[in-house]
């Protein structure tokens, strides 16, 4: 107990602050490479949240897949493009206003949808060790086998689609 909060609450607070801060830095930083690196930091903070929820598997897979693979490819593409601050197109005030209104409405919708989230009994799914690899595997391959396989077919379709788009000459 520290200043009336438990260590978990402190960690949650610090991680949330960092996650939101880095997420804002992603948007505000002028250099796209810095943006990508801030996004990686945001992912680390979210992985920390997963650890707090005792979901170790999700945390590590989040880091391996998002920070370790997808963001590396992002970085890859951005590094190969010639992005300078001078060559960045200047947007008009009308553009910026429309973007701000659209973004604000998205925020409004999200806040509205999250407002009722407190009433949902999220803990009714079972015990708190559900995030451990063993339990998660058993649940995924026994109770939720069908949705799991559907998701994998979806991923496979996306993969095949990406390769088809990437191919130059389709016979």
């Amino acid at each position: 107990m520290l200043l009336g909060y438990t260590i978990t609450q402190w960690l949650f607070g610090i991680l949330s602050f960092l996650a939101i801060m880095f997420a804002l830095m992603v948007v505000f930083s002028r250099n796209p490479v810095n943006s990508v690196l801030y996004l990686v930091m945001t992912f680390f903070c979210i992985a920390g949240h997963y650890l707090l929820l005792n979901a170790q598997f999700l945390a590590v897979v989040h880091i391996v897949v998002y920070a370790g693979a997808i963001m590396v490819l992002f970085l890859f593409v951005i590094m190969l493009m010639d992005l300078n601050e001078e060559s960045e197109p200047q947007r008009s005030w009308l553009n910026k206003t429309i973007a701000a209104i659209a973004g604000g409405m998205l925020l409004f919708v999200m806040v509205g949808s999250l407002k009722g989230a407190g009433d949902l009994q999220l803990n009714q799914m079972g015990h708190s060790d559900i995030g451990l690899v063993k339990n998660l595997g058993k649940v995924l391959f026994k109770e939720f086998l069908f949705p799991f396989e559907i998701a994998s077919i979806l991923l496979l379709a996306a993969l095949v689609g990406a390769i088809m788009i990437g191919k130059k000459d389709i016979k």
Binding site: V33, F57, V60, I63, V72, F76, M79
Partner: protein, 352 residues
């Protein structure tokens, strides 16, 4: 609580020192090994057999002029080598170096931490390691460095997949645990995993060569095409960190191979030896002998890495990608299928 923290701090410092020490002497051993294969003498000026050579090299690195290019991104330029070194050192945290020592009924393990997702942790840290190279290569603002960095990252991502699938097959053989401690412990009674996973070991070994950017996959630092690769612009100790971290990576991946496939601190007739010496379970001597065995295996693997480097020529980049995606990936899937079939039909270790 305090004694626990002190004990863990000691273990941390020991693993840190071991990693750095082995990495330093790997540089010496690499030069000695190369000279042996090329019928030369090798470094022999500093100390007996040139044993003080790593100290001399390190001192030289520290006193060289430090150059940060004017047009580079200074913060990222410094962050790159630091990150590469940090991730290299982080992987050593989950390796159990020997059996626990029991003093007054309390077990003291030779491992910084035993997380029950140790294998996933290793993969996670390995996938983060690529950032050190990418950031450094990009921040240099040099086309050769950028090319080297991109080669490094694409090769690491490609070979991670085959490596991961080889590890899945190993985990199935090892009884479905992701904790390194249990993977090593289950090889105590029976035979080592290599007997069940020879193909998996071969895939893992090739992927480890590619992941650590060692020859014949050292295209990121291919000096005949790229001047120096991703560290072209680096000088002084920052270059030293890059080179040094590569040796630490090599040391850790050797240790992982020795632990995953060759029993780690276990060795043939270990129990007979301990009985003959009259040692009780949990005594410090069992730990020390086990550590000796593990360390010897690790050193043998490091030597094999060097042997490969001074024997095989470098691949071409398209050959490297073909090998990764068209040969190793299908081969690792085949290995996984065979493993699952054998485990299900013959050994009966998989239950639904």
């Amino acid at each position: 609580m305090l004694s626990f923290i002190i004990y863990k701090a000691i273990v941390c410092v020991c693993v840190f020192g071991l990693s750095l020490g082995v990495a330093a002497y790997s540089t010496w051993w690499e030069r000695k090994f190369a000279s042996f294969l090329q019928d030369r003498v090798g470094p022999d000026r500093a100390g007996p057999f040139g044993l003080l050579q790593p100290l001399a090299d390190g001192g030289k690195m520290f006193f060289k002029e430090e150059i940060i290019p004017n047009v580079s991104n200074k913060f990222l330029f410094i962050l790159g080598p630091s990150l590469f070194m940090i991730t290299a050192l982080m992987t050593g945290a989950v390796i159990p170096w020997a059996k626990d020592i029991v003093i007054d009924g309390k077990a003291y393990s030779w491992q910084i931490t035993d997380i029950n997702i140790g294998v996933l942790y290793l993969l996670g840290v390995a996938s983060i390691g690529v950032y050190g190279i990418m950031i450094g290569g990009w921040a240099s603002n040099n086309k050769f460095a950028l090319l080297g960095a991109i080669r490094a990252s694409s090769q690491m991502i490609s070979y991670e997949i085959a490596m991961g699938i080889a590890i899945i097959a190993l985990i199935i053989t090892a009884g479905g645990t992701l904790s390194l401690r249990e993977i090593l412990a289950q090889q105590d009674a029976g035979v080592c995993n290599f007997v069940y996973q020879p193909l998996g070991f071969l895939i893992f070994f090739i992927c480890a060569l590619a992941e650590t950017n060692r020859a014949p996959f050292d295209l990121p630092e291919c000096e005949s095409e790229l001047v120096g690769g991703y560290h072209t612009e680096y000088s002084s100790m920052k270059l030293g960190l890059y080179l040094f971290a590569e040796y630490i990576n090599m040391f850790v991946s050797s240790a992982i191979m020795a632990g995953f496939y060759f029993g780690g601190y276990n060795f043939p007739f270990a129990h007979e030896l301990y009985n003959a010496l009259g040692l009780q379970e949990g005594s410090i001597w069992i730990s020390l002998i086990g550590f000796g065995a593990y360390f010897t295996k690790t050193c043998i693997f490091i030597s094999v890495f060097m042997w490969v480097r001074w024997t095989l020529p470098r691949f071409r980049y398209d050959q490297l990608m073909n090998l990764g995606w068209r040969i190793l990936l299908p081969l690792s899937l085949l290995n996984l299928a065979i493993t699952v079939a054998v485990e299900y039909f013959f050994r009966g270790t998989i239950h639904f």
